[in-house]
Symmetry: C2
Subunit: 207 residues, 2 copies
């Protein structure tokens, strides 16, 4: 499983680093120091340098890190220099919201189809096909699909995840509030409410 032994705490910080580097690049910042990064991330400069050392250090110079290079490197580390074909499984409100969101193509994630038990309820852009869930296996056999976005209700999530695995998909982005563990399938859970709880934390501690 592990090429390099990078702790999950470090891995979990990578998307936040990418977000920061992208913001800096968009603002036209050319170089950034580990002190500036740590300020913006709410951590310490030594932590930043330690995190970066897992990836070869990103070539810090006297004037700091090259922001463009940081962006590029972090995208590559996260696998965002590639493209991915996705299907959405579960065409309820969340599944529809994701299918209707225009931003995934630009990120290299292509939504190829939506699957639902009741296809007539599902409204998505016309270039995305909607099929009954039982057709998923056939579809995946004919189309290279990298990621299934699991958007079913909680009570059918596990059973649906097994169908996804059975169809040969190896990665699930899980929006169903249901723990999924299947051998040989990577699962990442979306914890939507965590930022809401950070908000209520800050509401208690603001004065």
């Amino acid at each position: 499983m592990e090429k390099q032994k990078i702790s999950s705490a470090v891995i979990n910080r990578l998307p936040a680093y990418l977000r920061l580097f992208t913001e800096l690049e968009e603002r036209g910042v050319a170089h950034v120091s580990s002190n500036e990064i740590s300020d913006l991330m709410g951590t310490t400069a030594s932590q930043v340098r330690q995190d970066f050392s897992n990836f070869g250090g990103f070539g810090r110079q006297g004037y700091g890190y090259d922001v463009k290079f940081l962006c590029q490197q972090m995208q590559q580390i996260l696998g965002l220099d590639k493209t991915y074909n996705m299907i959405i499984v579960g065409g309820g409100k969340i599944g529809q919201a994701l299918a209707n969101y225009q931003g995934y193509d630009a990120l290299g994630f292509f939504i190829k189809a939506v699957f639902d038990k009741e296809v007539w309820h599902v409204r998505v852009p016309s270039h995305i096909d909607v099929f009954p869930t039982e057709d998923m296996k056939d579809f995946v056999a004919k189309n290279k699909i990298d990621i299934a976005v699991l958007c079913t209700p909680k009570d059918v999530a596990l059973e649906t995840a097994k169908q996804i695995a059975d169809a040969g998909i190896k990665a699930i982005w899980n929006f169903a509030s249901q723990e999924i563990k299947i051998d040989g399938v990577l699962v990442e859970n979306v914890h939507l409410n965590e930022s809401l709880f950070l908000l209520t934390y800050k509401m208690q501690n603001q004065d």
Copy 2:
């Protein structure tokens, strides 16, 4: 701003601790050691103890921490022992998905109304009222609203956030992919795609 100087790295971990403690409680686990917690969190036992020391240490005994007590304490720290009234501003797919999600009441978050420019497009449960955005200020003056959930398209997010602040709401849960900074208003951003990027990271590094 700061009662106790708790680093934002620690604060950001609190919702994950709550999730873990809740899972343990649901599984009927009575006691847990800092080693077990650190294993499940992907961090170190000394980090766990250091994190906990910010909140008085949670009374570790010889047989570990009391899981029920940890849950209770973490809920209180995050302000989840209180209830909050929310409005959803922007009744598109994401706003509707949140309004239709049945889980917020049980968490103590009550959705009082949805605001949108085009109320006739918005389908939400019948107990939630839908009003035109220009009525927000009046509504907030008559109803105690703690949190606005910002779900507009990116291009009107900043302007809408200013209306929210102008209506007197002090906390925004931000689903619009637009950085919002307003004096005196707490903002937490939802970074939906970060878990997707963790998934693609793991897809690169699984073998």
